[in-house]
Symmetry: C2
Subunit: 368 residues, 2 copies
């Protein structure tokens, strides 16, 4: 169903091959986010060109629109969006808490109103697994209760323990024979002992892989790294580890150094729509007047199609003129850049030189 072959290790960092029913994925891997079955502004062929082998879709969004029945009828998520690589879906818990309105939390599940039309829905751990299996994702997530930064210890304990019970219920509802791999999600808020307990509890349930949830939700970066630091050593070495919703290029590097295998984040496409490009020297905002006549590509070191074709001056013009091609181009470049960073790290781990490379990267990389 899913199997991680670790091919090289340096410190906590691992390079490997994740075997999935949709093919192999080189790890550490970055997954572009295709919230509504589309990585915003790009075609599946372009997403593949950037180097992505697996993307993330949001079960919450797809459950509401176009609906599970329609996706099933059109042959499942791969065929629906014409994506031949891997697909991971999140379970929807995070989206229900952050996007939906009037939600009600009970032991049974979550009652919420659609952010699209206000219609009322109910989602349980069992239903979340069923929805994701029917959508046809290759890797699916347990249904969890997110814990906001600032929650009390009592609130954190309550939500984390419910997350464990929900993980168990989802695991029982899961049909492994489809080859779809179910990941458990570690919670525990921002308390080291609760994080540890959550990891141990989930590992005892023996999931095919483990997600680290509830981070990058507003807490200081050092708190996030401290939480990750107590979590990853407790996760099985032979199972993939996925740090949900993270992050910036420097976050990816720090995460890999701490033993993370998989990442997803909307940042490269969201920043792309805003005209901010990621480069080997840091962020570059095309709205900055100093790019007005700049004939250079977004990143002179980047071999992507956008950097081979367009100047900063042209892209800046498109952005100011409100042209979609600006959004497409910067989104494409940013995803290509993210994949280049992942590729570089995989190579460095194999060569045993990641530590030095990461130090140089974290020094050179800055906001411009």
């Amino acid at each position: 169903m899913i199997r991680l072959t670790v091919t090289a290790q340096e410190g906590h960092a691992r390079c490997g091959i994740l075997h999935t029913r949709a093919g192999v994925i080189d790890t550490p891997a970055f997954m572009p986010v295709g919230t509504q079955a589309s990585v915003k502004s790009l075609t599946p062929a372009e997403v593949r060109e950037t180097g992505a082998q697996i993307i993330l879709n949001n079960a919450y969004h797809l459950y509401l629109r176009p609906g599970v029945e329609l996706v099933e009828r059109l042959g499942g998520l791969h065929r629906f969006q014409a994506w031949e690589g891997g697909i991971l879906t999140d379970s929807g818990g995070y989206q229900i808490f952050s996007l939906a309105s009037l939600h009600r939390v009970t032991e049974e599940g979550l009652t919420f109103r659609s952010h699209i039309d206000g219609s009322e829905h109910f989602m349980s751990p069992e239903k979340a697994v069923d929805v994701q299996q029917r959508l046809g994702a290759d890797i699916i997530m347990s249904f969890d209760q997110p814990i906001p930064w600032g929650a009390t210890r009592a609130q954190t304990i309550e939500a984390t323990e419910r997350t464990h019970r929900w993980a168990k219920r989802g695991r029982d509802a899961w049909n492994p024979e489809t080859g779809q791999a179910l990941f458990g999600i570690v919670q525990g808020g921002f308390e080291e002992d609760l994080r540890r307990a959550s990891a141990e509890e989930l590992v005892a349930m023996d999931f095919p892989g483990y997600s680290i949830g509830g981070l990058s939700v507003g807490e200081p970066k050092d708190v996030m790294w401290a939480m990750l630091d107590v979590t990853t050593p407790l996760l099985p070495a032979d199972k993939p580890r996925y740090l949900m919703g993270v992050g910036t290029p420097t976050d990816l590097v720090r995460g890999v150094l701490q033993g993370v295998d998989m990442f997803d984040c909307v940042l490269p496409t969201r920043m792309g729509r805003n005209g901010t490009a990621f480069t080997w020297e840091g962020r570059l905002n095309l709205r900055n007047a100093r790019f007005e006549t700049d004939p250079e590509p977004l990143d002179p070191r980047c071999p992507c199609a956008v950097c081979r074709t367009f100047s900063r001056a042209y892209l800046r013009h498109l952005l100011k003129a409100g042209e979609i091609l600006a959004i497409r181009s910067v989104s494409y470049h940013n995803l290509a850049f993210y994949q280049q960073v992942m590729h570089a790290m995989r190579q460095q781990i194999v060569a045993g030189t990641l530590a030095a490379w990461a130090e140089a990267f974290l020094t050179d990389y800055r906001n411009m």
Copy 2:
């Protein structure tokens, strides 16, 4: 500089090769519109893939933003937007009348305020030619005074005669040694005798090509065809004829039957952004509920990349979800469809079967 080789003729319709400084263009040709140096939502490579050999840019828009100096500095329009095919610019007269505010018409030229920032500008026939030559277009337009549908005969005469004087001034200002071809624009409003007089006046000035302006501005279709009918027979057989701003697929067919060689229109991209696809059977609006579960491509007879990849159901989902990929996909398909119509007509003229083909097309093609 520019030379039309007519390779086949059937009735008034002609098939040919237009030799330009940017290479050859098969005629009759449809030119996608890249108003602000970008065919909306598409890359130059995609525009080329659809079959386009020449695009239209708007001198008015580019003069205001990013400005002539910047485009020159970045190597001219071809290099700026990374388009290797032909480029035609319109002179800006139409845009100044339709978009700019507080314009003042004098014999010298037009004073207007930018629709972007309200700044005041002056454009003369000489300056319009200079701007287009500096932008680096391969085919440029005389500066004309558009005549609205509903203008009086006196107004029509005044504007048409000024257009002739401006055409002469532009011709005198033009530097033919760059290889950039200047077209005269026939006006004459909606009066047959004035149309004839305008065509004769401009032909006497001996331009490399002739545009038919002032049509498709709100008049009934039969009036438009009547105006075209009196104009094209007066234009030299060995010079290209360009019907500005036209039109729908059926307009293209009727225009070719009347001897037009070149067309441009925002319709395929504008309708694409709106979710309306052109097909061999007519228009198809993806918002229509009957496409909700439709696994067929936009047009089962279309070989374009979008029709090979996505279903109507998926594209409808993207459109409803506000995803840019919907806009891109329908725009791309529409431009590919337009080029397929032009290609078919060129083949039919060579085979001497255009009349029958056109009759069948005009019968089958309908709004869906």
